[in-house]
C-alpha cells in the first residue's frame, strides 16, 4: 500500500516535470499551429547551459533557471523574427515550410551544443536528499522541480486567461485573421509566443538536467516526448496536456517499478504510437470533419 502511494506521488511529480518540458511546445503550437522540431534541442541547450553555470560559477539549477530561460527567450525571438516570420506562405504550404525550417534548426542547435559541450552525458548533482512525508519518501530535487513546473504552468495559464497580452495571444491562437482585424499586432504576438515557448524549454532544461542526465543527442527524444504529451492532450489544449503529463508520469513510474527501466524508456513511444493510431485528436480533442 505504501509502495503504491509512493509510486503515485512520484508519478504525479514526474508528470509535473514532463508538463514543464512540453508546455512551451504547446504554447507555440497553440498560437502558430506549428511544431517546433528544435524544442528538445532547446531543452538540452538550456540544461547544458545550467551545467556550465554550475561547474564554473557554482550556480544552482534554480538560479540558472531564469538565465537559461532568458537566453532561450532571446534565441527564440531571433529565430521567429529572422526565420519563421520570413515564411509568407499561408495554409498547408506555410506550415510545411515552417516545419522544414525547424527541422533544419534542430540540427543547427544540436550540433552547436555538441561543439560547445561535446557528446558526454552531463548532469548536476543538486538536492540529492529526500523529504519524508509520513511514510512516503520523495527526492528533494524532484519535488522542487515539480513544484516549480506547476508554478510556471499556473503562471502561464493565468497570464493567458487573465491579462490583456495573454488574451491577445489566445485570440491569435483561435483566429489570426480575426485578431489582426481587431487591431492586434499578430507579428509581435507570434514572436512573443515563440520566444516564451523557447524560454520555457530552456528553463525546463535547466531544472531537469538535475534529474535526468542530458547529452546533445537527447534533443530528438525530448521533442518526441513533448509532442506525444501535447498530442495526447489535444494539440494546443492546456488542461489536456496537464492530464496527459500526469498519465505519462504515472505510467512511467509504475512501469519502471514493475518492469524495469528498459520498459520504462519505451513507454513514451508506446503511448506515441497509441495516440497516432487511436486518438490523433487527443484525449480531450474533437474529431475534425471535411
Amino acid at each position: 500500500m505504501i509502495t503504491f502511494a509512493t509510486l503515485c506521488v512520484l508519478g504525479l511529480l514526474w508528470g509535473g516535470v514532463y508538463l514543464l518540458m512540453a508546455e512551451g511546445l504547446n504554447l507555440i503550437y497553440g498560437v502558430m499551429k506549428v511544431v517546433n522540431l528544435a524544442h528538445g534541442d532547446f531543452i538540452v541547450l538550456g540544461g547544458l547551459l545550467a551545467f556550465s553555470l554550475f561547474e564554473r560559477g557554482g550556480l544552482t539549477p534554480i538560479a540558472a533557471f531564469p538565465i537559461a530561460a532568458g537566453l532561450l527567450f532571446l534565441i527564440g525571438m531571433a529565430v521567429q523574427l529572422g526565420v519563421l516570420e520570413q515564411i509568407t506562405a499561408q495554409g498547408p504550404e506555410g506550415e510545411l515550410r515552417t516545419l522544414l525550417a525547424t527541422f533544419g534548426l534542430s540540427y543547427v542547435v544540436a550540433n552547436a551544443s555538441f561543439l560547445l559541450w561535446g557528446s558526454q552525458f552531463q548532469s548536476i548533482p543538486f538536492l540529492q536528499g529526500a523529504v519524508q512525508a509520513g511514510p512516503i519518501a520523495v527526492p528533494e530535487g524532484l519535488l522542487v522541480c515539480s513544484l516549480l513546473a506547476f508554478g510556471v504552468a499556473l503562471l502561464v495559464h493565468v497570464w493567458l486567461t487573465r491579462t490583456i497580452t495573454g488574451k491577445s495571444v489566445h485570440a491569435t491562437a483561435q483566429s489570426a485573421l480575426g485578431a489582426a482585424s481587431c487591431g492586434l499586432n499578430i507579428r509581435r504576438i507570434r514572436t512573443l509566443a515563440f520566444a516564451l515557448g523557447s524560454a520555457m524549454a530552456g528553463g525546463a532544461g535547466a531544472l531537469v538536467i538535475s534529474l535526468i542526465p542530458f547529452q546533445t543527442s537527447t534533443g530528438g527524444d525530448l521533442t518526441v516526448q513533448a509532442f506525444t504529451l501535447i498530442a495526447l492532450g489535444g494539440l494546443g489544449n492546456y488542461p489536456g496536456a496537464w492530464l496527459a503529463a500526469e498519465l505519462l508520469g504515472l505510467t512511467e513510474v509504475f512501469t519502471q517499478y514493475y518492469l524495469g527501466s528498459n520498459a520504462a524508456s519505451a513507454v513514451v513511444y508506446v503511448v506515441f504510437i497509441g495516440v497516432l493510431i487511436f486518438r490523433p485528436q487527443g484525449l480531450l480533442g474533437r474529431v475534425g470533419r471535411v
Binding site: 506549428v34 522540431l37 510545411l96 515550410r97 533544419g104 555538441f114 506525444t228 470533419r289 471535411v290
Partner: protein, 576 residues
C-alpha cells in the same frame, strides 16, 4: 522537345561522369561517389512520398535502416550476394510499409511527419535490444570486393531510380499522386482511390530507401543501430530534395550532386561544423527558395514539367460521337429517402426525399444555409447520413467511399471550385476519365471530346490558376463529365459565369442529358437553371418546403416567404 533534350543530356552527362569515376577513380573518389549516389537514391525515394504525394516525412531513414538490417541478415544467414540482399531488403521495406502506410497515412501533416520521426527512434531502440541484429554492438558482414564495384552498382541503382521516377510521373499513377497532393477531397470526387495511391507511393518510397540501406551495408561491412538510423542521413536526404526542387523528377539529382559536393568539402575542412551548415542551409532554403533550383529554372522557362499523356495537338479535334440512345422515362436513377444528418445539435438536413430521373434535370434551390451542399455531401459519400438512405440504380448505398461512388456514376462539383493547382486542364480531365477503367487511349480520346464540347480545348495546357473563374467552373464540370456519370451533382456551377459561358455549360449539360445522364443542380437563384430544369425542389432549414415544375414553384407563396420573409416586424437591411 527542347526541355526533354536538356533533361536527358544533363542526366546522361552526370551518369557518364559517375560511371567513369566508379570505373577508373581512386578508392577515395569511388567511396565519395558511392555516398553521393546513395544519397541521390534515398532522396529520390523521399521525393516520391514527400514531394509528389505531399506527405512530408522526417523518418525516411527508417526504411534505410530496415533495409540495411534485412540486407545484412540476408548476407549472413542466406549467403546472399549483394543483388540478392538488395532484393530481399526492398521486399522487407515494402512489407513494413504496407501496414505502416495504412496507419500512418491516415494522419495529416504534422502527425505524419512526426510519426515517421518517432518511428526511426522506435526502430533504433528495437534494433538495439534484439539479439538477431547484434544489439547495440552491431553486426559485421562480408564487405564488397572493391569500392569501385560498390560505386558502380550504386550509381546504376540511383540512375535506375531516377529513370523509374521519370517513367512513373508520365503514367496515370503519377497523375493521381499529384492530384492527391493538391487536393485529396477533389481527387476522391474524381474517382481516385486516395488510400491505395498513398500506400503505393509509400511502398515505392520505402523500397528505394531499403535498397539504399542494403547496398550501404555491403559497402561498409558493418552495421549498428546508430549508423542505421542516423539522423544525419535524414537531414542530407531532405536537404538534397529541397535544394534541387521538391516534387520534381530531377530535383533529387540536381540537389544531390550539389549537396554532396558541399558536404564532402565541409567534411574535409570543417567536420565539426558540417551539420550546422547543412541545417542552416535547410532553414534558408525552406524560407527563401522553397521550390529549389528546378523551380528557379522553371520560372525562366527551362525544364518545366510536361503534361502527362499529352495529346497530339496536330490531329484534328474529333466531333462528339453520336449520343447513345437514352432511356427516357422509367424509374428514378437516384432517390433519397427521408435523408437527414445532424452535426452536434445542429440539424443540417432533415427528412429530405428527392428523386432524380434519367435524362432530366432536377433543380435544388433554397436560401443560404438551407442544407443544399450538405445534401450533396450525403449523396456523394463525403458525409455519413444519420437517417434515411440513398438508392442508386436500384441499390441502396451504404457507407461507400466517395471515390467508389464517383466511379460507379455519381459525379459532383464543389461550391467553391476545387481544382488541382499543379495539373493542367488536360490532366485534370484525364485524371477523371482514366479512373473509370478506360484504357489509356480511350481515356485520352474521351478527354479530348469533352474539352472540345465544353470549349476548353484551346487551353488544354493551361494551369487552373491562369484561367478566369468562369473557366475554372467549366473545367470542374468537364472533370465531372469525364467520369461518364449517370447522376451529375452540380453545386452552384453557374455562379460567376458570363452569359457565353453559361450557354456553353447549358449545351454540355443538354448533351449529357441526351446520353441519359440525370442532373441534380443546386442553385442559389432559379433563373440560371430554369430553362433546363424539369422539376424544382426547394429546401429551407434542412427541410423540403416545396417541389414541382419551375413556374409553379416560383409562384409558391411558401417559397417566396423563404427567400423574402413575410415578417414585417424586422427592419429590412438592404439585400435579402
Amino acid at each position: 522537345m527542347r526541355d526533354r533534350i536538356i533533361e536527358w543530356s544533363g542526366f546522361a552527362l552526370v551518369l557518364t561522369i559517375g560511371i567513369a569515376i566508379a570505373a577508373f577513380g581512386s578508392g577515395y573518389q569511388a567511396q565519395t561517389l558511392f555516398t553521393a549516389a546513395l544519397f541521390i537514391l534515398l532522396a529520390t525515394g523521399w521525393n516520391v512520398i514527400s514531394g509528389f504525394t505531399g506527405y512530408v516525412s522526417f523518418g525516411q531513414v527508417s526504411f534505410f535502416g530496415v533495409g540495411a538490417y534485412v540486407g545484412a541478415l540476408a548476407m549472413i544467414h542466406l549467403d546472399a550476394p549483394w543483388y540478392g540482399a538488395a532484393a530481399v531488403a526492398a521486399l522487407g521495406g515494402i512489407v513494413l510499409a504496407l501496414p505502416l502506410g495504412w496507419v500512418m497515412l491516415r494522419l495529416q501533416g504534422i502527425f505524419f511527419a512526426l510519426g515517421m520521426f518517432g518511428l526511426a527512434r522506435i526502430l533504433q531502440i528495437v534494433a538495439s535490444s534484439l539479439d538477431i541484429t547484434g544489439g547495440a554492438m552491431g553486426t559485421t558482414v562480408a564487405v564488397a570486393d572493391s569500392v569501385n564495384e560498390c560505386a558502380l552498382v550504386m550509381v546504376l541503382a540511383a540512375g535506375a531510380a531516377l529513370v523509374g521516377t521519370y517513367a512513373l510521373m508520365r503514367t496515370r499513377l503519377g497523375l493521381r499522386l499529384m492530384a492527391l497532393r493538391d487536393d485529396a477531397v477533389a481527387a476522391q470526387a474524381a474517382g481516385v482511390d486516395t488510400a491505395a495511391v498513398r500506400v503505393t507511393a509509400f511502398c515505392i518510397s520505402a523500397g528505394l530507401g531499403a535498397v539504399g540501406g542494403a547496398l550501404y551495408v555491403w559497402n561498409v561491412g558493418y552495421l549498428d543501430p546508430n549508423s542505421a538510423f542516423n539522423g544525419t542521413i535524414e537531414l542530407q536526404t531532405v536537404l538534397m530534395v529541397l535544394a534541387g526542387g521538391i516534387g520534381t523528377v530531377w530535383g533529387p539529382l540536381v540537389g544531390g550532386v550539389l549537396i554532396s559536393l558541399l558536404s564532402t568539402a565541409l567534411w574535409a575542412r570543417f567536420p565539426m561544423e558540417q551539420q550546422i551548415v547543412l541545417g542552416a542551409l535547410t532553414m534558408g532554403i525552406a524560407v527563401a527558395m522553397p521550390g529549389g533550383i528546378m523551380a528557379a529554372l522553371g520560372r525562366i522557362g527551362i525544364v518545366r514539367r510536361q503534361p502527362i499523356c499529352a495529346p497530339d495537338v496536330a490531329a484534328p479535334a474529333e466531333a462528339a460521337p453520336a449520343a447513345e440512345a437514352a432511356a427516357r422515362g422509367g424509374g428514378p436513377i437516384l432517390s433519397c429517402r427521408s435523408l437527414g444528418v445532424a452535426f452536434g445539435g445542429v440539424v443540417a438536413v432533415k427528412g429530405v426525399s428527392i428523386e432524380a430521373r434519367p435524362a432530366e434535370m432536377l433543380a435544388v434551390i433554397g436560401p443560404n444555409g438551407a442544407g443544399k451542399s450538405t445534401l450533396f455531401n450525403l449523396i456523394s459519400g463525403f458525409t455519413r447520413a444519420t437517417q434515411g438512405d440513398v438508392v442508386f440504380a436500384g441499390e441502396t448505398l451504404a457507407a461507400l467511399h466517395p471515390h467508389l461512388l464517383a466511379r460507379s456514376g455519381i459525379a459532383r462539383t464543389f461550391q467553391t471550385s476545387r481544382l488541382f493547382r499543379s495539373l493542367c486542364v488536360w490532366e485534370t480531365v484525364l485524371l477523371a476519365a482514366a479512373s473509370v477503367g478506360r484504357s489509356r487511349a480511350a481515356a485520352m480520346a474521351e478527354t479530348r471530346r469533352i474539352l472540345a464540347e465544353i470549349g476548353l480545348w484551346e487551353q488544354w495546357a493551361d494551369l487552373p490558376d491562369t484561367l478566369p473563374p468562369g473557366r475554372q467552373r467549366l473545367l470542374e464540370i468537364a472533370r465531372a463529365l469525364a467520369l461518364r456519370p449517370r447522376v451529375l451533382l452540380l453545386d452552384e456551377a453557374m455562379a460567376g459565369m458570363s452569359a457565353q459561358e453559361i450557354e456553353r455549360v447549358h449545351a454540355a449539360l443538354r448533351g449529357a442529358m441526351r446520353r441519359g445522364c440525370s442532373i441534380v443542380a443546386i442553385e442559389h437563384v432559379l433563373p440560371a437553371i430554369a430553362p433546363l430544369a424539369a422539376r424544382v425542389h426547394v429546401l429551407d432549414f434542412g427541410q423540403t418546403i416545396a417541389e414541382g415544375v419551375p413556374h409553379q414553384v416560383m409562384n409558391d407563396p411558401v417559397v417566396i416567404e423563404a427567400y423574402m420573409g413575410v415578417d414585417d416586424q424586422e427592419p429590412v437591411h438592404g439585400a435579402a
